[in-house]
């Protein structure tokens, strides 16, 4: 019966998010059970227009098409608690951001200017819903919430969104940029974006990282400060070189994470509580290595899960469209 | 898209064929019946009006005649009239040998005494003003009694319309046959 209703102006949705150099997009029907995905496409960033073209095609047949995207802008984040003072406490200019309270527990925000910019980037598409990655992570994490705080990570290639949640509250959130080579110096290996807004020098877009640099093997001892490289999407790395890169990357990720946890513990703005569990939702290709690192060194219980942002988008978008 | 157009056409045409065409046919049939019936009605009405007019005029024209036939024979009334013309009047019923299916007939012998035959003539001339249908007839006998008196005996026949044969009254009433 549900399928039959597809012949009578059904509600449909176009979902997309940006991953590395590509736009992952999916089209599906909105039904009682959520979104029934019909087609997925991977579109290169350079061919953004083909996404708009696809959208036009869809709308022609299905005028009731909604679009939902994951906002990949830099100046966005999450703050613990919903009262007005959080902005001040964590140095976020409330006037410059769009923000709202999620489930009464935490405040999500993003730069107004950047939201507009994002909509402009995809001019051919009428954007209906824009989600913060934290919101997607939050939605995915909900089944795992406990009384005690758990650290959840949403990992994409080169970037990790970290949030500490329990059933009743949100404790801490941060965006981690994972460099592709090891860095020993403390030369701002990652952005602590929860501190400052709109500081030009510090903010950068993942999209602006130049693509297609040659991958060179880097040893552990090399120190590189400004040189940033892209590591190719690794296949199951049997080759030593790529295994090395992988190791490199995992270590960097681990380091960033460690620092992030440390800053959570030491920063007085955050309440103190021990984290005992870590749940990683991976949209890239992490393996058990990172699990071992964390377990061994941080003595936390770690679980690793696959994460499909499209499915997360589908779930919350369907709710919002139907409601 | 096309399928909707086809469906639409199908729907419209089916409606037209299933509903509209039969009803138009029916209407035409009914209408032509109506025209015929109306024409007939007009004709019948005209005839009715004509006949009615005629009846009215006849009723007006022959009011007295009709009344005279309808009145039940009343000797006393007659005598009142007759006495004007005679010195003496006496009526004697007689066996009637005349019969008529339409009228009830009274045979009467009138025994009168008059001054002159003029009275008799005047009397006969007065019949139209008497509310009965009277026929004077033979046998008639005149006898002179002295020079001033004539005895006159004559037959009078009174016609009365029989009720039940033509049971119409002179008033306009519809017969329920």
């Amino acid at each position: 019966m549900g399928k039959l209703s597809r012949y009578f102006w059904p509600k449909t949705v176009l979902l997309f998010y940006i991953d590395d150099n590509n736009i992952e997009a999916a089209f599906g029907f909105i039904g009682k059970e959520g979104v029934d995905i019909q087609e997925r496409r991977t579109i290169a960033q350079s061919e953004k227009s083909s996404l708009a073209a696809w959208y036009k095609e869809i709308v022609h047949t299905y005028p009731k098409t909604y679009t939902a995207a994951m906002l990949d802008t830099v100046n966005q984040g999450a703050l613990p608690g919903c009262d007005r003072s959080v902005f001040m406490r964590f140095g976020v200019e409330a006037a410059l951001v769009q923000s709202f309270c999620v489930d009464g527990i935490w405040e999500v925000y993003a730069s107004l200017v950047e939201i507009k910019w994002f909509e402009q980037e995809f001019k051919g598409i009428v954007l209906d819903l824009a989600y913060s990655p934290f919101v997607l992570l939050y939605a995915r994490s909900r089944p795992y919430l406990e009384e005690t705080p758990t650290l959840f990570i949403f990992h994409q290639e080169g970037i990790a969104f970290v949030i500490v949640l329990s059933k009743e509250r949100m404790w801490y959130a941060q965006i981690l940029i994972i460099p592709k080579e090891s860095v020993n110096e403390e030369e701002e290996p990652h952005e602590d974006i929860s501190l400052d807004e709109e500081i030009e020098g510090l903010s950068f877009d993942l999209e602006e990282i130049s693509a297609e640099n040659e991958v060179e093997p880097i040893s552990d001892t090399d120190v590189l400060s400004d040189f940033k490289e892209e590591i190719e999407q690794k296949p199951k790395a049997e080759v030593n070189e790529s295994a090395l890169e992988l190791l490199e990357y995992n270590l960097n990720l681990f380091e960033s994470l460690k620092e992030s946890v440390a800053s959570f513990y030491h920063d007085d703005r955050y309440p103190h509580e021990f984290i005992e569990k870590v749940v990683i939702f991976d949209a890239a290709s992490l393996e058990q290595d990172i699990v071992r690192y964390i377990e061994d060194e941080l003595f936390m219980e770690v679980s690793l899960h696959r994460f499909d942002p499209i499915e997360a988008l589908a779930m919350i978008a369907a709710q919002e469209i139907k409601g | 898209m096309l399928i909707w157009v086809l469906l639409y056409l199908l729907l419209v045409f089916s409606f037209i064929f299933i509903l509209v065409i039969p009803v138009v046919k029916a209407y035409k049939g009914v209408n032509s019946d109506y025209v015929d019936v109306k024409a007939r009605h007009m004709a019948v009405k005209n005839e009715h009006d004509t006949v009615f007019e005629r009846l009215k005029s006849l009723q007006a024209k022959y009011r007295k005649v009709i009344a005279a036939f309808e009145n039940r024979w009343d000797e006393k009334r007659f005598m009142e009239q007759a006495r004007k013309y005679f010195l003496q009047v006496r009526l004697m019923p007689v066996e009637s040998n005349v019969s008529d299916p339409n009228y009830k007939i009274y045979e009467i012998n009138a025994l009168t005494k008059m001054e002159s035959p003029q009275n008799f003539y005047r009397f006969l001339e007065s019949f139209p003003s008497i509310p009965f249908v009277l026929q004077a007839d033979f046998p008639i006998a005149f006898k002179a009694h002295g020079s001033d008196e004539i005895e006159g005996i004559f037959r009078i026949r009174v016609y009365e319309e029989k009720k039940g044969v033509e049971s119409n009254r002179s008033r306009e009433s519809v017969l329920n046959r």
């Binding site: 909604y66 209906d128 | 004077a136 002179s170």
Partner: protein, 175 residues
């Protein structure tokens, strides 16, 4: 609960093509149905009217029939009356004529009139007076005439004149 930074825009429930078609279809169907309904009511109203007219026609015909019957009756009555009146008049005239026939010299004592004839009793100064002045005209009226004379003391004659076979008298009351 809200999770998105931006609010979804309103989507058209039907694309404009379908909308136009739907409106078109609705209007067309409405017209067709309206026409059908209109025809139906007209048909039924005409049917009713036809029935009514038929009924009226029946009634009028009945009335006409009754009127005709009444007319016939009146005409009969009138005719009958006319006949009777004529008869009466004729009777009166013939009697008057008869008595006018009698000359002054002759005195009648009795007259008996009947369908068939006339019997006169009277007194006449002379036979000749009777014969020339009374019998002669009587002869022209009646076919058979028999007169009987009886002499009187004073020279006058008493007569009995029997006349029969009248030609002109309308004494038969026939229809």
């Amino acid at each position: 609960m809200r999770y998105s930074f931006i609010k979804p825009k309103r989507k058209p429930s039907i694309d404009s093509e379908s909308r136009i078609l739907a409106i078109f279809l609705a209007v067309t169907l409405l017209l067709v149905l309206g026409f059908w309904a209109f025809m139906l009511t007209k048909k039924s109203s005409i049917s009713k009217e036809t029935l009514h007219l038929r009924q009226q026609t029946r009634q009028l015909k009945q009335k006409s029939q009754s009127y005709r019957a009444q007319i016939e009756r009146i005409e009969h009555l009138a005719k009958k009356y006319e006949t009777i009146a004529t008869h009466n008049t004729l009777l009166k005239e013939s009697i008057r004529n008869l008595f006018d026939l009698v000359p002054d010299q002759i005195t009648l004592t009795k007259a008996v009139l009947d369908k068939g004839g006339l019997v006169l009793y009277g007194v006449t100064p002379s036979k000749d007076v009777y014969n020339y002045l009374l019998l002669a005209p009587l002869k022209s009226v009646f076919q058979r005439n028999v007169t009987t004379f009886y002499p009187l003391k004073n020279g006058w004659w008493r007569f009995v004149s029997v006349n029969e076979g009248s030609i002109e008298s309308g004494s038969e009351v026939e229809e």
